[in-house]
């Protein structure tokens, strides 16, 4: 069953016509109400009237994270303050935070796209959704919250953290759907095991996990350990929050809600548009957002698009699982390395936790990599040489994945830093310009 059959199963021509009209409307609003866009258009020598086809979107200059920071906090709002009803913001771990403003209508659309996600996760109105995304300025908690209320399910706004309480609620309230970051879900699964809680005592059937990159191997672990269907959700504060794209049970790419968010894939170096199936940087333009229209925002996420009808019947364009970020990509000893490769290597060593951190240094002239891995119950041994053996196994798994020798260090559980429940995966101490 599809939540919004008209929007999610629309024929190509009809969808494109709708997208074009919405794009023209958005461009006009942005140009007329946001000085930042007026200036950009004027500098590029274009006006909203130049957007005659969807392809014309390529004439519009990109918007970058730096632009959002330069206009901090409210420089991109396109409506008077009395129409803004909610504000969210990124944590600003990598610089000045990015702010996002929503009108009542924007929140309704946000709820709508999350409702589609809950439906894909086999949600029913009688379901109880344990929302363990953080509540606050972070978009995760409230995004799911708005969606669950639009959908009509029972929402448990437990927020992130306090694992003991999460377990209690899972048992006592018999929550059926879990929403949180995948790394927290994995931690929760391990904590359930540790507390001796069996799958018979809880009642989860599915999970909607996002806000950080994860892998197929992690999905397998989550599905086995929690006995659920684990689905990927994608979004970003700049464009809306979670719900920009969501996976259906076919697990063959994430359906982009392209009636609200228009995707493009570009070559991150040249900015040139890429064809379907080619991997490049994902770029989004909002099609319906009033509070803060965003034109051609460079997400820095690397993916490719899949067009054509999905086996689930939906026709919305799909994107493959994010495999890396243009700014996550590390060049170590000249070799391109993505954190997801380290994650993959770790999951190949039985019993290791998926919680890791990569620290790159250049003590002298050469790069050195340290990978810290939180020790799990499964691999902890009373004997030093067995712990050293685990470190060796991880070292060789990483080496076969990325071709580089890393210094592997086991560390205590929960000792690696997390921000908003998101793990901080990379610390680059070389002080290099990522360019």
């Amino acid at each position: 069953m599809v939540w919004n059959e008209k929007a999610e199963c629309m024929e190509k021509e009809e969808k494109e016509q709708m997208q074009l009209e919405r794009l023209q409307n958005t461009v006009k609003k942005a140009y007329e109400n946001v000085p930042f866009y007026t200036k950009k258009f004027d500098e590029a020598g274009i006006t909203p009237d130049d957007i005659k086809t969807l392809k014309d979107i390529e004439k519009i200059p990109f918007t970058t994270k730096e632009d959002l920071r330069d206009t901090y906090p409210f420089g991109l709002f396109a409506v008077p303050d009395d129409e803004i009803v909610e504000i969210h913001s990124s944590s600003g771990t990598t610089g000045k935070p990015v702010v996002s403003g929503y009108t009542e209508k924007d929140l309704d659309i946000w709820g709508e796209v999350i409702a589609r996600a809950i439906n894909m996760a086999n949600g029913k109105k009688h379901d109880r959704i344990q929302n363990a995304y953080g509540y606050g300025l972070f978009t995760g908690g409230f995004g799911i919250h708005h969606g669950a209320s639009k959908f009509g399910a029972t929402l448990i706004p437990i927020s992130a953290g306090n694992t003991k309480r999460q377990i209690e609620i899972l048992k006592d309230f018999q929550s059926t759907i879990l929403t949180c970051t995948p790394s927290y879900a994995l931690y929760l699964a391990e904590s359930l095991e540790k507390a001796g809680v069996s799958l018979d005592e809880i009642n989860l059937k599915s999970g909607i996990f996002g806000a950080e990159m994860w892998t197929e191997a992690m999905r397998k672990q989550l599905e086995e350990k929690l006995g659920i269907l684990a689905l990927n959700i994608y979004g970003l504060t700049e464009v809306m929050g979670p719900g920009v794209a969501i996976e259906c049970p076919e697990k063959n790419g994430l359906h982009i809600n392209d009636d609200h968010f228009y995707p493009e894939i570009i070559d991150p170096k040249t900015g040139a548009s890429l064809e379907e199936g080619e991997t490049g940087e994902l770029v989004f333009t909002t099609l319906t957002r009033d509070g803060m229209p965003i034109l051609r925002y460079r997400t820095k996420d690397l993916t490719s698009l899949i067009k054509g009808k999905c086996d689930c019947g939906r026709t919305t364009v799909r994107m493959t699982r994010i495999t890396g970020r243009t700014d996550d990509m590390l060049k170590i000893k000249g070799v391109k390395v993505f954190p997801s490769q380290i994650e993959k290597a770790l999951l190949n060593v039985e019993g290791t936790s998926g919680n890791y951190q990569i620290i790159v240094t250049r003590p002298d002239l050469l790069d050195e990599v340290e990978v810290k891995v939180e020790v799990s119950r499964e691999v902890f041994s009373d004997e030093i040489r067995k712990l050293e053996l685990i470190e060796k196994k991880i070292t060789s798994a990483i080496r076969s994945e990325i071709g580089i020798r890393a210094e592997v260090t086991l560390c205590e559980p929960e000792s690696l830093p997390r921000s908003e429940g998101k793990a901080v995966r990379v610390i680059d101490k070389r002080g290099l310009d990522k360019g």
């Binding site: 799990s376 119950r377 009373d382 004997e383 030093i384 205590e412 559980p413 929960e414």
Partner: protein
């Protein structure tokens, strides 16, 4: 007749030992014997305590990774060459010692040695053959 020892993973950084002690102290758990094996990056804290179940619970609640390991605990004469009598009994049967540590109690004249052997079963028979007293958990409670 083996005794359960508790092993805790601790990172080699300030305050970690203290945190384990605090977790145990809070629950009124008494430590009978303790040893710390360390590398440059982390260590394994090995403990013989008054109440294993409570100790594991307290430590895990504080986020530590804990494991229970079977060890052999024996009395040896608290005098020169005392430990050798035990090691000699292993030598004949080629039993390898993974690690050992010793402590004394003011309630007995003997020294007490905690051992983890590569082959625990063979070690136990070797000790029995040589009439070396192996302590039970009950014995340790009374020390």
């Amino acid at each position: 007749m083996t005794v359960k020892q508790i092993s805790v993973f601790i990172e080699n950084k300030e305050g970690r030992m203290k945190k384990t002690m605090k977790a145990l102290g809070k629950e009124n758990i008494n430590i009978r014997a303790l040893s710390l094996a360390d590398t440059s990056k982390y260590g394994i804290l090995r403990l013989i305590v008054s109440d294993n179940e409570a100790a594991v619970k307290a430590l895990e609640e504080d986020g530590f990774i804990v494991r229970e390991t079977e060890v052999l605990v024996v009395f040896i004469p608290d005098q020169p060459n005392g430990l050798n009598t035990v090691l000699e009994s292993f030598e004949k049967d080629k039993i390898n010692v993974e690690y050992l540590y010793a402590f004394v109690s003011n309630k007995v004249d003997e020294a007490i040695v905690v051992m983890r052997l590569e082959n625990m079963e063979a070690g136990k028979s070797a000790l029995e053959k040589n009439n070396i007293t192996i302590l039970t958990e009950e014995d340790i409670k009374n020390l």
